[in-house]
């Protein structure tokens, strides 16, 4: 049977990095910062996790360092988009490109190798009950984020900032502070996502190893309408398609074709949601905005 509990288990394992990153993206989105730098932040997390685990021998320190490093890296977006009011899309793309170059460069200077660093003595994360500890953390984070966003004072203020920063400012809530907070949280979550990818899913670092997962996380934010539970469902869809890709490989399909599965699903999902949104929004009348 093609769809069975094994497939679901491997889907759940595959989705952890995407889920963590897209939660970060969702929080940014709600705060009004369009974060497409998730990929780059994740990649920084991957490298930092591997390097720290290798030099300290502790994958836990690797996780911690990855979270910190990505948070610091995310400050580029916060300063650029929030303080300097730059274009968040341009900054996000810059973050992604810079991360590829920077981690490849560091791979060469720190480990003296090109392409992939892989060593049997590199300590990865242990499995607890069949899952990485970070997987449990990711699931818990969905609940916490959902509760915080919908019910906590901070969540209400964050949503207000994202929707109408001027209005929030007139009530004494600093949009800058909340947007910095959101970007930093997304940095931490992307760092954890990177650590999970490099010390959990596999135990190695290779150049550009995120391979578009950060972009898929961006799509998950859109599909899930920046709601934590929506993002969870979207991430599950991508996890399933990734797991199904592996399964198809086992059935003899070429790897290049099966690796494309998550991206095909992404395209399909984007197409479906845009089509649905089109239908729902009637052509806006030019005068609709002029009711002042």
């Amino acid at each position: 049977m093609f769809f069975d509990s094994d497939l679901l288990m491997s889907a759940l394992r595959a989705l952890t990095p995407i889920l963590l990153a897209s939660l970060g993206g969702a929080i940014c989105e709600r705060a009004g910062v369009f974060n497409i730098g998730l990929e780059g932040m994740m990649l920084m997390g991957c490298f930092t996790a591997v390097a720290t685990s290798w030099f300290t021998g502790s994958p836990w320190l690797g996780v911690l360092a990855a979270a910190l490093a990505s948070a610091v890296y995310s400050l580029i977006l916060a300063v650029g988009a929030v303080t300097l009011r730059g274009d968040a899309v341009v900054l996000g793309i810059a973050l992604n490109l810079l991360a590829v170059g920077l981690t490849s460069f560091l791979l060469r200077t720190v480990f003296g190798v090109q392409g992939t660093f892989d060593d049997p003595s590199l300590a990865g994360l242990p499995l607890v009950g069949g899952f990485s500890p970070l997987a449990y953390l990711a699931w818990a984070a969905v609940g916490v984020a959902a509760l915080m966003l919908s019910r906590h004072v901070w969540g209400l203020r964050l949503r207000g900032v994202g929707e109408a920063p001027d209005a929030a400012a007139t009530l004494g809530v600093s949009p800058v502070r909340y947007q910095y907070g959101a970007v930093l949280v997304s940095g931490v979550l992307c760092g954890l996502a990177g650590a999970q990818l490099a010390l959990g899913n596999v135990t190695l670092f290779s150049e550009n190893m995120t391979a578009g997962r950060g972009w898929i996380a961006v799509v998950a934010v859109m599909l899930g309408r920046a709601l934590p539970l929506g993002v969870l469902l979207a991430a599950l869809l991508f996890g399933l398609s990734e797991a199904a890709g592996f399964r198809l490989q086992g059935l003899g399909l070429p790897q290049q074709a099966t690796d494309a599965a998550p991206y095909v699903v992404t395209l399909g999902a984007l197409f479906l949601t845009t089509a649905r949104r089109r239908r729902r929004t009637p052509s806006t009348s030019p005068s609709a905005g002029a009711v002042s």
């Binding site: 209400l156 109408a164 002029a290």
Partner: protein, 519 residues
């Protein structure tokens, strides 16, 4: 909630002394004094650019004055942001509301001052708080409604509730009635009066004379950054305030005499388009037909359909006897139509283009074109003639349209369209946001155009404008013409009722038979 216990009732709620604020190139406020007694409704008036907004920004902590002091309840204060002002008991309702559309009324009201339980927003308490405040002040609104779904009048209530929840003792309202129906405006003033009776203070920033006369206790008038008059409302008149605002005598709310209608120029039969249905109207040469209605009841869509900017779904439009129902905007103009759209910045003009180019637009196809080319001398000459004829104040014809004041940009737009001498003029909101002085000029131009034998279809949300100019008045409500009046019947109360849907309007009204309006 209550005035501070220590305060002597004679201490002014707000006292501004010698406020001076310079911006590069302008002196926005020059040693302005403003004293507002506790429990009064104080109107702050002035034309655009007189310094009202700057003064309120200084009071509310959004701008630092270059000189002068602010006293609240007798204590000198220095605000570095609106948060400080709010903490001192001030609250401001901005002209463009500062609300979160996707959040509920209760969430908007308690935002940043939330009742909490374990760090979470206590929604039950928030809801109860909104109900209590709403009941206490006669501001009924459903706490669970999404603000984005509410009509403008209710959104304004949410803004006021927000301030009351924070314990504001002094409320500043910036042009609060700009978006309200006459009925909603009356309801607002009832609320403001009851707030004042409780000892709260209201500062009303407005340019509408009528509501100042009816709703305020005292008036301070600014002109060019100076206080030019301090008046007790009961002892003044609209003419005196207007003269103070403009610096000269102004004839207000002039009702022009009726025109002498001739042949039918525009004939619309059973027209339907998005948000508009069953519209039947005619406009004759030598008359102005006014369309009254609260913004958003289909007037804009109707005019766009007539101008050729919006497809007609059914019905027939005839201009000078020719069917133009499906003609393009260009064809309609060639046939004899000129159009002044309501949004002069985005639709009516190109702000980045020069004054001369803006004046040439539309004329490029006809009088200015020389075998498809536009001779610069012709464009300049045309611009100079129009600038002179319509009294447009521009440094030169070469400056960009965006450098003109709102009133002058409007004169440019109206002048350009009048210069076509088209048999039919469609004109929307000709004086929105325009100073009193310029209003008079524009009205005179429209009347002169009518008297020259042209047909004018006028859409305006300003009742005094409709009453002053129109020979016949149609009222639009929910996409239909629900009432029609001759000039003499169209008093403010009747129109106001019809605009709020009071004319019933289950059946479309033919313009010939005026409809009885009852409560």
């Amino acid at each position: 909630m209550t005035p501070p216990p220590s305060a002597d009732p004679e201490t002014p709620a707000v006292e501004l002394r010698g406020i001076t604020k310079r911006f590069p190139g302008t002196l926005a406020n020059d040693a302005v004094d403003l004293t507002v007694r506790r429990g009064e409704i104080h109107a702050l008036m002035g034309e655009n650019g007189a310094g009202k907004s700057t003064l309120m920004s200084v009071l509310y902590g959004m701008e630092r004055p270059d000189a002068g002091s602010v006293r609240i309840d007798g204590r000198e204060v220095v605000f570095s942001d609106p948060g400080d002002a709010m903490a001192a008991g001030l609250g401001m309702v901005h002209q463009s509301f500062k609300l979160f559309d996707s959040l509920t009324v209760a969430e908007n009201v308690v935002y940043a001052a939330e009742p909490r339980r374990f760090g979470l927003v206590d929604r039950g308490a928030a809801r109860r708080r909104v109900r209590e405040l709403a009941e206490e002040h006669g501001l009924a609104v459903d706490p669970d409604a999404r603000v984005g779904d509410l009509p403008v009048g209710l959104r304004q209530r949410v803004e006021i509730l927000k301030l009351l929840h924070r314990g504001a003792r002094t409320l500043i309202l910036d042009e609060p009635t700009a978006v309200l129906t006459p009925g909603e405006a009356d309801a607002l003033f009832a609320v403001l009066k009851s707030l004042a009776a409780q000892g709260r203070t209201v500062i009303l920033v407005t340019h509408k004379l009528r509501e100042v006369l009816e709703g305020s206790d005292n008036v301070t008038v600014l002109r060019d950054g100076h206080v030019v008059a301090r008046l007790v409302t009961a002892e003044t008149s609209a003419a005196e305030i207007a003269a103070a605002m403009t610096g000269r005598a102004v004839e207000l709310d002039r009702v022009h005499s009726a025109g002498t209608p001739g042949d039918v120029i525009l004939d619309v039969t059973d027209l339907a388009t998005d948000g508009v249905r069953d519209v039947r109207l005619t406009v004759r040469a030598g008359e102005i037909v006014g369309i009254a209605g609260v913004a958003g009841n289909g007037q804009s869509e109707l005019v766009e359909a007539l101008a050729g900017l919006r497809p007609v779904t059914s019905g027939r439009v005839a201009l000078l006897g020719d069917d133009i129902t499906h003609a393009s905007a260009t064809e309609r103009r060639a046939q004899g139509l000129a159009y002044v759209p309501e949004d002069r910045h985005a639709v009516g003009t190109a702000p980045a283009a020069s004054v001369a180019d803006n004046l040439a637009m539309g004329h490029h196809r006809t009088s200015l074109s020389a075998r498809g080319l536009l001779p610069p001398a012709a464009v300049r000459g045309h611009a100079r003639r129009l600038i002179e004829r319509f009294g447009i104040k521009a440094v030169s014809p070469e400056v960009p349209g965006s450098s003109l004041s709102g009133g002058n940009l409007q004169k440019l737009l109206i002048g350009r369209e009048l210069a076509h001498d088209a048999p039919l003029l469609l004109v929307e909101q000709p004086t929105r946001g325009v100073d009193i002085g310029a209003v008079q000029n524009i009205h005179d131009q429209l009347i002169a155009y009518r008297d020259a034998g042209h047909a004018v279809l006028l859409v305006s949300a300003e009742l005094s404008e409709i009453r002053g100019l129109a020979d016949r008045v149609l009222v639009m409500y929910e996409g239909r013409v629900t009432a029609a009046y001759e000039k003499a019947e169209a008093d403010e109360r009747t129109l106001g009722l019809a605009m709020a849907g009071g004319a019933g309007g289950s059946a479309p009204v033919t313009q010939v038979a005026p409809v009885e309006v009852g409560d």
